[in-house]
Subunit: 254 residues, 2 copies
């Protein structure tokens, strides 16, 4: 049973305040993840569990990406710019790791800039030898939105959502969860849509996200999640425990 859990950048950071971790939210998530890991193995939360975590950039990566004019398609050849984006994301990643480890989750980082590459068409290669071996050894690999070397563009943005999709496919994941600031995909009355099976069903409800985000909002997420083999769930922070316990919080996309 392989699970991919995305922690939205706007959940683990204060997205409107530059480079600010939301420590309380992060700690609560770490506690829920630790509880689920302990339940899954029945032998304490530091025992093996096939869980890979991905987090977004929130107020860390996005500001730097905007400052350097870097998107998923338009890059920079400035090593200074690329390093600014990458180091900001590693700072956030360290906060996530520390919170998870303080709750006995055996989390270790996998930094995508070190791993992947895009060709001139933007297609991504992301060899997951490290991620797979870390999972096999009982660790919880924690990836994140990052920069990525891109043929002809220098370094472009690799979004957390793109990593989630790649992990789900490459690891043949059984379940994918996206923890967002909202309790699910909402209809125009503000209610959670329980199930989405086609984008046409919900296209009229979906706009952009409500704060700075160079990597797209809910519409893009739903479209990519529909393309996965595994069922995906979109839920708020209160849905993490239920998702990791095998339940169906928020919106199921399949």
């Amino acid at each position: 049973m392989t699970t991919v859990l995305k922690l939205g950048g706007s959940v683990v950071t204060e997205k409107d305040r530059r480079e600010t971790v939301d420590d309380d939210a992060l700690s609560a998530l770490a506690e829920d993840i630790a509880g689920a890991a302990g339940r899954a193995t029945g032998s304490g939360s530091d025992a093996p569990a096939d869980l890979a975590v991905v987090h977004g950039g929130g107020s860390f990566g996005h500001y730097h990406a905007e400052e350097w004019g870097v998107t998923t398609a338009d890059g920079t050849h400035s090593a200074t710019g690329a390093l600014a984006i990458h180091e900001a994301m590693k700072t956030l990643n360290r906060a996530v790791l520390d919170s998870l480890q303080s709750h006995e989750v055996p989390a270790l980082p996998v930094h995508p800039l070190s791993v992947g590459a895009r060709d001139a068409a933007g297609d991504l290669t992301l060899p997951l030898d490290s991620t797979r071996r870390l999972l096999g050894e009982g660790f919880v690999p924690v990836l994140h939105g990052d920069g990525v070397a891109h043929e002809g563009e220098g370094v472009t943005v690799l979004s957390g959502d793109e990593i989630v999709v790649r992990l789900a496919e490459s690891l043949d994941a059984d379940r994918v969860g996206l923890c967002s600031t909202v309790p699910g995909v909402l209809d125009d009355a503000g209610d959670v849509i329980p199930t989405i099976e086609s984008f046409d069903d919900v296209a009229t409800y979906l706009g952009g996200s409500d704060a700075t985000d160079v990597t797209g909002g809910m519409a893009g997420k739903v479209q990519t999640l529909l393309a996965l083999d595994a069922p995906a769930y979109v839920f708020g922070p209160e849905g993490v425990s239920e998702f990791l316990a095998g339940g169906s919080p928020g919106t199921r996309i399949d």
Copy 2:
């Protein structure tokens, strides 16, 4: 023309003082690398140059590896231990990157824990998609000794020297340079041996290194460098400019 340059951990750190960068030595090396890059392209030191840099652990990684009993063969399943080793190496890597970037070398990090894996026999997989693309886009990838996920062992040590050998082979490097604290491989009179073509010629001269080092001394370096297709050079910090200019400082191993 692809060049791999190793900066020994004992060159860029004060190896007997825990987690202490040798700022003066590092800055002088960065200046020499910048000068060589500018000369190679004839158009300023931030222009493309096929140079990959690797640095060792010095007083950063080795202390933590010893504390956690981690070697290249014996690992840890403690995420705390593995993260301690990895984060110490990333701190040193950041100092190396900052020094190189301050001299206009377009350096970006590649963290091996994120990339590679060992199987149960200890054989290393290290997919270099990111390193290759960074080189192709004109960046100078900077790798380092690190931890690596190892089947059945958790996380073991991946030495800078092992990375150098892998880079040299996988990138089909033309020249490999190892910048050490000594001006070359020394004979029993303390003189630099100009050329080594077989280990038997020098086996009696080579002992271990003179300070804490979990990853072996000069004897191991010479043996692995002899196995490379590319010529390798062992030299002191004063030999970096000559090496990058195409000369033969110190000891040539081929």
